[in-house]
C-alpha cells in the first residue's frame, strides 16, 4: 500500500513540476504570439504612458471594438482624446474591470461600449484572463476571481499547461487558430489601442466561423455587469453609449438578427443607455469585411466616422 501511494505521489509531483515548467515556457512563447496578433502589451503600455486625466473618451469591447473603432477618427470629428481599450473576446464583465482600472488613471467624459451578441451571450472564458487582465497593473487577481469560476481559476493556477492550451480544440484542430498567426500578417497596431486589419481572410472561412443557431439570451453574468458598468459610469458622471458594429450578411445566416438585437436594445433601453446598432442604420458592403465578423481598416474608418457623426449629432 505504502509503495503504491509513494509511487502515485512521486509520479504526480514529477508530472506537476514538468507541466509547470513546460507550461510556463510555452506560456511565454504563446504570450509572444498573442502580442503579435492582439497587442495587449502595446495597448496597455501606451495607455499607462498617457498623462493622467488626459483621455476624454474610452472604447471598450471585443475585437469588434479594437479592430473597428479608430480613435484618430473620433479625435478629429469630436475634438477629443480617445483611447481604445477593447481586447479579444472582451465580455461586458471584463469591460467592467478594464474600466475600473482605466478610471484609476483617467477621467473620461464618455465611454463607448461595443456590444456583440457573441460576448454578451456567454460567460467568461480563459481568453478574458489571458488577453485582457494579464497586462493590467492592478486588480488582476480580484478581477479574475470575480469573473472566472473558482474551478477555472484554480485550474489555471495549478496547471500552466492548460493556460497554454486555451482553445486547445482550436489549436489542435487548426481552425480559428488563436493566436492566429496568419491574421498577424494582416494586423498592424496603429495607435491608441486600435489594430488595423488588412486584406481578406486568405482562407475564406468566413461562413465557417459562425456558430450555428444557439438559442439567444443575454448571459446573467453579463447582464449583471452591464448594470455595474452603468452604475460605475453614473457614479463618475460618465456618458455611457452602446454601439454595435455592422456584420457581414453571411453572419446572419444562422443568427436571428431581430430577436438578438431586440433583446439587447430593450435591455439597454431599460437602463437608459443610448444604443446605436449600425447593422440596421449603416450596414457595410461585403468588400469591407475581413471575415463574417470583422471589418477591414477601410471599413473601420467608415464605421468610426459614422459613430462619431452620430455622437456629434446627439451631443
Amino acid at each position: 500500500m505504502n509503495r503504491f501511494i509513494q509511487k502515485v505521489l512521486y509520479i504526480s509531483i514529477i508530472t506537476l513540476i514538468t507541466q509547470f515548467i513546460v507550461g510556463n515556457v510555452l506560456h511565454e512563447k504563446r504570450n509572444k504570439l498573442v502580442e503579435e496578433v492582439y497587442f495587449p502589451v502595446k495597448r496597455w503600455k501606451e495607455f499607462y504612458a498617457h498623462p493622467k486625466k488626459s483621455v476624454g473618451m474610452i472604447f471598450l469591447g471585443s475585437s469588434h471594438c479594437y479592430r473597428s473603432l479608430v480613435p484618430s477618427v473620433f479625435d478629429s470629428v469630436l475634438n477629443v482624446n480617445s483611447f481604445n481599450l477593447g481586447s479579444s473576446s472582451q465580455s461586458i464583465s471584463t469591460s467592467y474591470y478594464v474600466l475600473r482600472e482605466a478610471l484609476k488613471f483617467q477621467s473620461p467624459k464618455t465611454v463607448v461600449l461595443e456590444i456583440f451578441q457573441g460576448t454578451i451571450t456567454n460567460g467568461n472564458t480563459y481568453i478574458d484572463v489571458m488577453h485582457n487582465f494579464s497586462q493590467m497593473q492592478s486588480n488582476v487577481k480580484y478581477a479574475m476571481l470575480q469573473t472566472v469560476s473558482l474551478n477555472e481559476a484554480l485550474s489555471l493556477a495549478a496547471f500552466p499547461l492548460k493556460r497554454v492550451a486555451i482553445n486547445k480544440d482550436q489549436i489542435l484542430l487548426n481552425k480559428k487558430v488563436l493566436p492566429d498567426t496568419t491574421r498577424a500578417q494582416y494586423s498592424i497596431y496603429y495607435d491608441k489601442g486600435y489594430v488595423a486589419t488588412f486584406s481578406k481572410n486568405i482562407f475564406q472561412f468566413a461562413e465557417q466561423e459562425i456558430e450555428p443557431n444557439a438559442p439567444f439570451s443575454i448571459n446573467d453574468l453579463q447582464l449583471e455587469y452591464l448594470h455595474k458598468i452603468n452604475q460605475l459610469c453614473l457614479d463618475n458622471q460618465i456618458k455611457l453609449i452602446a454601439v454595435t458594429q455592422p456584420l457581414h450578411p453571411a453572419y446572419w445566416k444562422n443568427h436571428p438578427e431581430k430577436e438578438i438585437y431586440d433583446e439587447i436594445s430593450n435591455t439597454l433601453n431599460e437602463l437608459s443607455i443610448p444604443y446605436y446598432n449600425l447593422n440596421h442604420t449603416h450596414p457595410l458592403p461585403a468588400e469591407f469585411f475581413y471575415d463574417a465578423g470583422h471589418i477591414l481598416h477601410q471599413g473601420a474608418i467608415l464605421f468610426s466616422r459614422d459613430v462619431a457623426n452620430l455622437l456629434e449629432q446627439n451631443q
Binding site: 500500500m1 503504491f4 509520479i11 508530472t15 514538468t18 507541466q19 485550474s155 480544440d169 489542435l172 487548426n174
Partner: protein
C-alpha cells in the same frame, strides 16, 4: 459526477483513503462506504433519481429472496414478472414513454387520425439502462437457479450502485461482482497499479481522442449538405473513433477505479475495430451488453436452434432490441436492424464463428487478406454508425446520400487537421501493438523504470494539453 472532472479527482482519493486506511479490516464497513460513496457519486448529478436505484434494489433484493424460498412454478413466474415489470417499467417510462406516444401518433396519422399527443417532460435518469439490466440479471439468474440470492442487503445494494460502473457499465453479472462484495478484499500493488494504468489510458481515449473527434463530428453532421464526399466519410470515421474512445474509455476508467478498491470488472471492449467480420466485431464491442442479450434474450428465444426462419427472427430481435436499448429513437432501431442484416449472412452460412482467435496470430502485422477483411468490416461499421449519430432517419439517409452525390474532394482540408490526424494515427498504432494486452500502458509495465515513468508523465501532459476546452459528456450516459 464525471470521471474527467475536478470533483471526481477529489472524490476518488478521499474514498480510497477511507476505504483502505480507516476501514481496512471491516468488509461490511467498506461496503457501507462504497454504498454511500456511490449514492453521492450518482446524487451529484441529480439526487432525486437515487430513489429509483434504491427502489429497484429493494424490489430485486426482496424478489431474489422470495424466489429462492418459493418452489411453486407459477408463484416463481409471478415473482419474476414483478422484477421484470418493475425494472422495465421504470426504464420504459423514463426512457421510452414519449417515443411510444409520438410513434403512435405518427402511426395513426397515416390513417387520417390526428390525436393530440400527451407527451411528458421527462428527464432521463443517467445510467438507468445499465443498472436496471444489472439488477434484472440477478433475479433472472436466481429464477433459473443459476445463482443463490444474497441475504446481505448491504452487499446487494452496494453491488447495484457500485459507482465505477453505475452509469455506463460494464453491465456486471451478479455471479461475478456480488461475491466480490462478500469476501474480504486485499490490496495488492500490482492490482492497484494496473488500475491506475487503465484509468490513464481511459482518460486519454476519452479526453484526447473522443472529445476532439466530437468537435469535428458535430460540425460535419450539422452541415453535411454542403460537405464533400471525403469530408462526409471522414465524419463517419471520426464518429467511429469518438464513440469507441468515449465508451471504451469510460469502461477502462471504470475497471481501473474498481481495481483500486480490490474489484475486478469484466472487459467490455477488445479492440473491436480490428475485427475481420461483423460477428467478431460484436464479440469485441460492448461485450457486457452483447452477452446480456445473448443469455437473457437470444438463448431463451431459441438462439440458433430451430428452423432458418426462427434463427433469422431471433437474430433480428436481438439486434433490434439492442439498438432500441441505446435510445428512444428510430435511428437506433435502424442501426440495430442494419447490424442484424449484416450479421445474418454469416450466421446462415455458419461462418459467424470463423474468427474466434485474434487477428495476426503470432505475427506483428496482419496479412493482406486480414487487412482487406478488417478494412471492409470497419468501413461498413462506419456507414452504419451514421444512423447512430444522426438526429433522425431522414438526416441519416440524406447524409449517406450526400456521400455519393456531393463533390468528391473538399475545397480545403479544414476537417483534416494534421495534429489530430497524427494523434489518431498514434492511437491506432498503440491499439494495434497492444491489443493482446489489457491496455496500452500495461504493455510497458515491464519496461525500465525511466521509460515507464516517462510514458506516464507524457500521457498526463498530452491529456492536459489536448483536452478540448469544452468538456463533452460521455455519450453512453444518455443510454
Amino acid at each position: 459526477m464525471l470521471f474527467n472532472s475536478f470533483e471526481f479527482a477529489l472524490f476518488l482519493p478521499i474514498v480510497f483513503f477511507l476505504y483502505w486506511f480507516v476501514l481496512k479490516n471491516n468488509t461490511k464497513n467498506q461496503n457501507l462506504l462504497l454504498l454511500i460513496s456511490s449514492y453521492v457519486f450518482y446524487g451529484w448529478w441529480d439526487w432525486r433519481f437515487l430513489s429509483l436505484i434504491a427502489f429497484s434494489s429493494v424490489v430485486d433484493y426482496t424478489v431474489g429472496l422470495k424466489l429462492h424460498k418459493t418452489p411453486q412454478k407459477k408463484k416463481r413466474k409471478v415473482l419474476l414478472l414483478v422484477s421484470i415489470i418493475t425494472n422495465l417499467g421504470l426504464l420504459g417510462f423514463f426512457k421510452y414513454y414519449n417515443f411510444f406516444v409520438e410513434s403512435f401518433v405518427d402511426g395513426v396519422s397515416l390513417f387520417g387520425f390526428h390525436p393530440s399527443p400527451n407527451t411528458l417532460n421527462i428527464i432521463l435518469p443517467v445510467g438507468i439502462s445499465f443498472y436496471t439490466f444489472q439488477t434484472l440479471s440477478y433475479t433472472i439468474d436466481i429464477y433459473n437457479r443459476n445463482l443463490k440470492p444474497t441475504k446481505d442487503a448491504l452487499s446487494f445494494f452496494a453491488f447495484v450502485s457500485f459507482f465505477p460502473q453505475l452509469v455506463a457499465g460494464p453491465i456486471e453479472r451478479a455471479s461475478n461482482l456480488l461475491p466480490q462484495f462478500v469476501k474480504k478484499r486485499r490490496f495488492t500493488y500490482e492490482h492497484a497499479a494496473n488500475g491506475m494504468r487503465l484509468i490513464l489510458w481511459g482518460l486519454f481515449k476519452k479526453m484526447v481522442i473522443a472529445d476532439n473527434a466530437a468537435i469535428l463530428v458535430n460540425e460535419i453532421f450539422a452541415d453535411y449538405e454542403t460537405q464533400s464526399t471525403l469530408v462526409l466519410f471522414a465524419g463517419a470515421f471520426y464518429f467511429a473513433l469518438q464513440i469507441y474512445g468515449d465508451f471504451s474509455g469510460y469502461s477502462d476508467i471504470a475497471r481501473g477505479t474498481a481495481k483500486l478498491f480490490g474489484f475486478e470488472l469484466m472487459i467490455n471492449f477488445r479492440v473491436p475495430y480490428f475485427s475481420r467480420d461483423i460477428a467478431e466485431f460484436w464479440r469485441r464491442w460492448h461485450i457486457s451488453l452483447s452477452t446480456w442479450f445473448r443469455d437473457y434474450l437470444y438463448i431463451p428465444l431459441g438462439g440458433s436452434r430451430g428452423t432458418k426462419w426462427m434463427v433469422i427472427r431471433n437474430t433480428m430481435i436481438i439486434f433490434v432490441v439492442s439498438g432500441f436499448w441505446h435510445g428512444a429513437n428510430w435511428t437506433f432501431i435502424v442501426w440495430g436492424a442494419l447490424n442484424g442484416l449484416y450479421f445474418l449472412p454469416l450466421l446462415l452460412t455458419k461462418r459467424n464463428r470463423h474468427n474466434l482467435d485474434t487477428v495476426a496470430q503470432n505475427r506483428w502485422l496482419p496479412n493482406l487478406k486480414e487487412i482487406m477483411q478488417m478494412s471492409i468490416t470497419f468501413f461498413v461499421t462506419c456507414l452504419v454508425w451514421v444512423f447512430f449519430r444522426a438526429e433522425n432517419i431522414d438526416h441519416a439517409i440524406r447524409y449517406l446520400g450526400k456521400m455519393t452525390t456531393n463533390q468528391l474532394m473538399p475545397d480545403n482540408f479544414y476537417f483534416f487537421p494534421p495534429s489530430l490526424i497524427l494523434l489518431i494515427g498514434l492511437f491506432i498504432l498503440l491499439e494495434w501493438f497492444i491489443f493482446r494486452h489489457d491496455n496500452a500502458l500495461e504493455r510497458i509495465k515491464t519496461a525500465p523504470i525511466a521509460i515507464r515513468h516517462f510514458a506516464y508523465i507524457a500521457f498526463v501532459l498530452i491529456i492536459l494539453f489536448f483536452t478540448p476546452s469544452v468538456a463533452q459528456d460521455f455519450i453512453y450516459f444518455q443510454f
